[in-house]
Point group: C2
Chain length 433, copies 2
Amino acid sequence: MQDRTYAADVDAGESATVAGWVHEIRDLGGIAFLILRDKSGKLQIKLEKDEMDDELVETGLGVHRESVINVTGDVKEEPRAPTGFELVPESIEVVAEADPELPLDPSGKVDAELPTRLDNRTLDLRKPEVKAIFEIRAEVMRAARETFRDLNATEINTPKIVATGTEGGTELFPITYFGEEAFMNQSPQLFKQLMAGSGLETVFEIGPIFRAEEHNTPRHLNEATSIDFESAFADHHEAMDAAEEIVVSVYEAVAENCEEQLDLLGYDDFDVPEGDFPRLSYEEAIERINATGELDEQLVFGDDLSTEAERALGEDVGTFYFITGWPSEIKPFYIKDQDDDETLSTGFDMMHPRMELVSGGQREHRHEKLVEGFEQQGLDPEQFEYYTKMFKYGMPPHAGWGMGGERLVMTMLGLENIREAVLFPRDRQRLSP
Amino acid sequence: MQDRTYAADVDAGESATVAGWVHEIRDLGGIAFLILRDKSGKLQIKLEKDEMDDELVETGLGVHRESVINVTGDVKEEPRAPTGFELVPESIEVVAEADPELPLDPSGKVDAELPTRLDNRTLDLRKPEVKAIFEIRAEVMRAARETFRDLNATEINTPKIVATGTEGGTELFPITYFGEEAFMNQSPQLFKQLMAGSGLETVFEIGPIFRAEEHNTPRHLNEATSIDFESAFADHHEAMDAAEEIVVSVYEAVAENCEEQLDLLGYDDFDVPEGDFPRLSYEEAIERINATGELDEQLVFGDDLSTEAERALGEDVGTFYFITGWPSEIKPFYIKDQDDDETLSTGFDMMHPRMELVSGGQREHRHEKLVEGFEQQGLDPEQFEYYTKMFKYGMPPHAGWGMGGERLVMTMLGLENIREAVLFPRDRQRLSP
């Protein structure tokens, strides 16, 4: 349709062909309005019953909502129309008639539950405010990649079919790969580290990860988008700087480039974080959580933070923040211990007040220590030889992190359920569409 | 390492700390040169045996190749040095000593076979010319996304775990998904179509696809990167225009932004295609192939094109080109037939002279016809109801295509084997690293 004009781009005094969906028909008697909706917005089509060809009026009034139509006519200024313009049709072509019984109402007049929305994403994404979420999501990914390039990082793609999981055999989906046992990768961790040790040095990847976690919560997915960063010659402080820079720049980009979408989502005021996120030590964090009195039991050194603990601390801090210096024993083998205290790791998390967004740290780059770490974690280092072997040939100190792409969008837009931030979520119950 | 300077960024008259790998040591007697290599390039470190601290000289001369070192010293102009500068060290710190027995020589003096290279990608990507391939690959993906946005397309992410394959049960990797049978998706085809029918209208995705094809050739992968485009209100001609625009803009971006990498790969002259790729009908294509006399048997209407046929035609045409109007019977159910001749489809391929890059077409958007197509192809439409159902609610005409990401890089750079265009290839034999 090379001569098609978007609804938002029509101009008074010209003839135009628009194409889109029948959003609504308002019949006022002698006059009727058909509202056409397309990617760009809506346009009022005026039907004057006495002055227009009967067939044309009949077509315009008889067509079911959500049908696809092409309309050609003259564009007039009309201050009372939602966009300031209306189109007086010469022809209306029904391209794809919709069934009158819709499983979901894209005009938004009838609310739909999330499962119905997810079963009917095609219709759900005709709602401008749902579409806005995914346009913002696309901008988030674009802006993140741009900032990664500013950080001198090279985009990589690592395999999603792997012989061994990042952290052993738990929580992996098994695949049959030409008769061999394989898994869907739960994280690009080991591969991005191998690339930090290559001539690329600083790398990023935005791609799918797969976790066979049994829990079904509003903030977990079994297939998610991970935003990964890894850099040679960086320590955990610099890795935190990079994570902060990505978050700030992504918020800035959305504020700048998605005004219309933010409006649709009801944001009068979209707050861009200023950076300099507080960096709390793990010990400070548990002290502050205990001080809130929100938990039934006091936390002690070595405890992981429950959802409730994260929430209590998030409310207390009130901004993005880091938790640093986690106990070594609750961090995976590839996280380096602190030089002056082996009980503490260089591992960190970046937290949104609502939940964890990022997990990272400096990595163990010393071959011997790394192999020891596998053994301590009960993993067989031989199974990971493709990875550990490279640490014998000049593996620089390196650090990095993984960020949950959907969590970033979910917390940014205040979505209740992480499934609202992904087109076709995969969870314990949902495998289709 | 916030005070680190890249090798390529040092300037005469200042003190600098550089960090990287020991690329080479040249001992000339009274003087020796240690060549340090980092992401940015190489830097000569001068060791003057009589004038420098013995320990410093010993460290510099004793370190194994590919070890990681930090060097601090003064930068001097030195016209005889490869970059015009050299660094006179005050300190050399060995950060990670490399084993003297390397499985692969990153200096490139000893050639390695592809399997050895793939087993040791960390070392392989320390070769500047291998690293250059992946820097170009990253630029290809960046430029493609930028052009997609110019085409008003929104980036989407579709699921990789699916209940049914795009084209039925063949060539799929089975997964166990919480006790249920599922598959790794072989193409985002059905999902991107669902999104073309949503308010997004025009969408793209760059992501992994998985094909359990048995053949092991230099141009097939079992896990590949697919560049996908789909647009509502577009026909196959417009889809071809978009594919052409992506290819041309990606070549332009590489020519403009990857000069150094192209130099390393030996390109004196990198040809950017001009567009207006010839569009041959299928019937013209088989006539021309038959006329080359390269095939043992003459092709007849309904034949698919073998590798030999593609090669013969590619040599004959000599540029990128399209083959349009394929017989309907050899195209999948979702490709629309031509309006005036049901034996011909709107399906097209875009060809590089060496091989097929893109496959696309206008899609069947009429519910009834689509369901018929499933049946004709021996598929059960009920299994695909999540997809077909949406075609009842105002599915616009739409068209699109999928492009092989690795094939695009492979043909652009004249790589012999597609495995050279992917960091960690997956094929019939290779599942690790």
